[in-house]
């Protein structure tokens, strides 16, 4: 999965997040490992409760109690974010690794002008630019997401959902971060606006050669936006690969079912959902968590949990169907 740019910009190793609940500890993200390379758009897909948002928040070190990061490393250009002081981490956020939260349009401060909200980013990170330069930069940033510079003097309630989402993206890219994490950035937007916003994000990300981690549950959106996909199920990454490869030849039965459940616009067919329901994280079945819903379930699946193994170049899957077929290292 190398893209030839030398080294990965973000390496996530064995990231594990646990939540303390009255009924016991549950692992919302279990041993999650993957790499992001500059220019890559990595889509993290899964049903609700699969741990995709937990993983995204943990990368930003924004995990809230009762959740705790109990294990793992998050290396941004070799520096372990989990080991930094809170002050150092604050400097890294936005400048090096930025976040577009779920429903980002509601994350804007309702009583502050858009321009000031963008300027805050410059000020907080002591970028040595003067007052007039800041207003120049605000205009630049707004134009980069296709908004009129006049938006700078407006309040969030004067903007539509799509415009607010563009502002959220403008803030996220304003300091030229190396990694952008976007959690379902368009889930509340109409399909037309969704396309416009996502294409804007893609253009900006290509301009600054950042890596994007996009979290979502819509495989259609991933097919159009992502260059690589990681599929999560019950807190685990179960398959990783390049987007075309994944759609051409999904390996894990869960990935296969996810793709098959998508309604097509070119022909009418009987809709096939994934049978059953995602498991409760407190009562995971023995063996592979997907086994009760799996079409290709074997005896071993009910007892042994498969590892995420490399199946071929750039392709990883965690499934007993392929345990014999590994390539040597």
């Amino acid at each position: 999965m190398t893209t030839g740019n030398g080294a990965p910009v973000l390496q996530v190793k064995n990231l594990t997040v646990e939540y303390e609940t009255p009924r016991g500890k549950l692992r919302a993200a279990d041993n999650v490992s993957f790499e992001l390379w500059p220019g890559q758009r990595f889509g993290l897909v899964g049903e609700s409760g699969s741990g995709k948002t937990t993983t995204a928040l943990a990368l930003m070190r924004l995990t809230q109690l009762p959740g705790r990061i109990v294990d793992g490393e998050v290396l941004l250009e070799g520096v372990d974010l989990l080991g930094l002081s809170e002050n150092r981490m604050r400097e890294m956020r936005l400048a090096q690794i930025s976040y577009v939260p779920q429903g980002a349009m509601n994350s804007l401060n309702p009583v502050m002008k858009i321009g000031n909200q963008i300027a805050n980013g410059f000020k907080d990170h002591n970028t040595n630019i003067g007052r007039s330069d800041i207003s120049d930069r605000i205009v630049e940033v707004l134009q980069s997401v296709g908004l009129d510079p006049a938006v700078s003097g407006m309040y969030p309630h004067e903007l539509s959902g799509g415009m607010k989402q563009r502002v959220a993206i403008a803030i996220a890219v304003s300091l030229g971060p190396k990694v952008i994490i976007a959690d379902e950035p368009t889930s509340a937007l109409d399909v037309v606006v969704q396309r416009e916003v996502m294409l804007t994000l893609r253009r900006l990300q290509e301009e600054i050669d950042a890596a994007v981690l996009i979290v979502g549950h819509d495989m259609g959106l991933m097919a159009q936006f992502a260059s690589h996909i990681g599929v999560m199920y019950a807190g685990r990454l179960v398959e990783i690969g390049q987007v075309i490869d994944m759609f051409d030849d999904p390996l894990h039965p869960y990935t296969r079912a996810l793709i098959a459940s998508l309604p097509s616009t070119s022909r009418r067919h009987r809709l096939s959902g994934i049978p059953g329901l995602p498991p409760a994280l407190l009562e995971l079945p023995a063996g592979c968590s997907f086994n009760p819903r799996c079409e290709s379930v074997m005896d071993i699946c009910r007892s042994t949990d498969p590892d995420l193994d490399q199946i071929r170049e750039g392709r990883f899957a965690s499934c007993h169907l392929y345990t014999g077929a590994e390539v040597g290292a």
Binding site: S48, G146, Q194, R195, M198, T200, D218, S261, L271
Partner: protein, 341 residues
């Protein structure tokens, strides 16, 4: 044909302000008809602000129209009294978008099934009612012992929405108005709920008005489609034709914007390039879509276009089809009812 539910020139205007009244036309002159000798799924498609939820509220009798009327078996629903009104209520049932909000948080989930069973006298005894409720739950793939007796927050979104579909299986109404029934549940679980809707049509002969912003699911389950833009039907007709060869520029934009689950197909390759326009902008006099329309010309800014009838029975509200005869939505439905699907 016998018509169960029919809406004639429905318009709903919201006004606010006391002195300088601001009028917002949420639904503008919409007519549609649902019959029972040929159960069908009618799709009302539109984005947020298109008026689709207002239309649903009016069809369910929760909100009176500003003008126009809704008739149930020939009677204006707002003139119905007593048993006739209960009969309408029982036979025109909703499925709502948010499968959490439909449950009263202080009660157990089964109440949504047992309450109508009791109030509409569907079962003679409690035991019989229990039997019917359990049967309805099994019909949508839920195990009664895992759902009954729970509180709403103890179930997942998919389970909750299946319970509201089970409610339809239990009540067997004549018409179901489903307002975005799958938009708040996971993509992988949508298929199951949509298949149940299709079963309601084919097995129980229930006509469904499926309201959605998602043209892919609309295409999969729908028979007829009405595409709404700012309260007006801009294109209506057979779902296969509308989705495969959209003829209104707005329908084309909607179709082109859908992220196709195939990484080899570029996203919206045939669409005009993105410009930084404000999607809230509206024309006050002409076609509501004109400010965003890549094909807009002078006439579009002056006067809203009428519906033009295409050869395949579609009605399109756009001057690009000016050479076609002017039609209205009533004639569209009349021709539609002759062709069984």
């Amino acid at each position: 044909m016998s018509t169960i539910l029919e809406a004639d020139h429905l318009t709903r205007v919201f006004s606010r302000g006391v002195f300088n009244k601001v009028h917002n036309v949420a639904v503008n002159d919409i007519s549609l008809r649902v019959g029972d000798d040929n159960p069908s799924i009618t799709v009302i498609a539109g984005e947020s602000g298109s008026g689709k939820t207002t239309l649903a509220s009016m069809l369910l009798g929760f909100m009176p129209p500003t003008s126009g009327n809704i008739r149930y078996q020939g009677q204006d629903i707002h003139s119905l009294k007593g048993d006739a009104w209960r009969e309408f209520r029982r036979n025109v049932q909703p499925i709502f978008q948010d499968p959490f909000e439909v449950f009263n948080p202080v009660y157990r989930v089964d109440r949504i099934l047992t309450q109508p069973a009791k109030l509409y006298n569907i079962a003679e005894t409690d035991d019989h009612a229990l039997e019917l409720v359990e049967e309805a739950l099994r019909q949508v793939g839920l195990r009664p012992q895992e759902t009954m007796g729970r509180f709403p927050h103890q179930l997942s979104g998919g389970q909750r929405q299946r319970i509201t579909v089970a409610r339809a299986f239990l009540l067997k109404p004549k018409v179901i108005i489903a307002d975005e029934p799958v938009s708040m549940i996971d993509a992988s679980l949508r298929a199951t709920v949509l298949e149940s809707l299709r079963e309601l049509k084919t097995e129980l002969g229930i006509s469904i008005i499926y309201i959605t912003h998602d043209l892919t699911t609309a295409y999969q389950v729908g028979d007829t489609i009405y595409v709404l833009y700012r309260g007006s039907v801009v294109e209506a007709g057979d779902v296969e034709k509308v989705v495969q060869e959209p003829s209104h520029p707005y329908t084309q934009l909607l179709m082109g914007s859908i992220p196709v689950p195939d990484p080899r197909v570029p996203w919206g390759e045939n669409l005009a390039p993105i410009s930084a326009r404000d999607e809230r902008e509206t024309a006050t006099t002409g076609c509501a879509f004109a400010p965003r329309c890549p094909n807009a010309f002078e006439t579009c800014e002056i006067k809203p276009p009428p519906h033009y009838g295409l050869n395949d029975g579609r009605a399109v509200m756009c001057y690009l089809h000016e050479d076609r005869p002017v039609t209205n939505l009533d004639s569209l439905m009349a021709s539609k009812s002759d062709t069984p699907n």
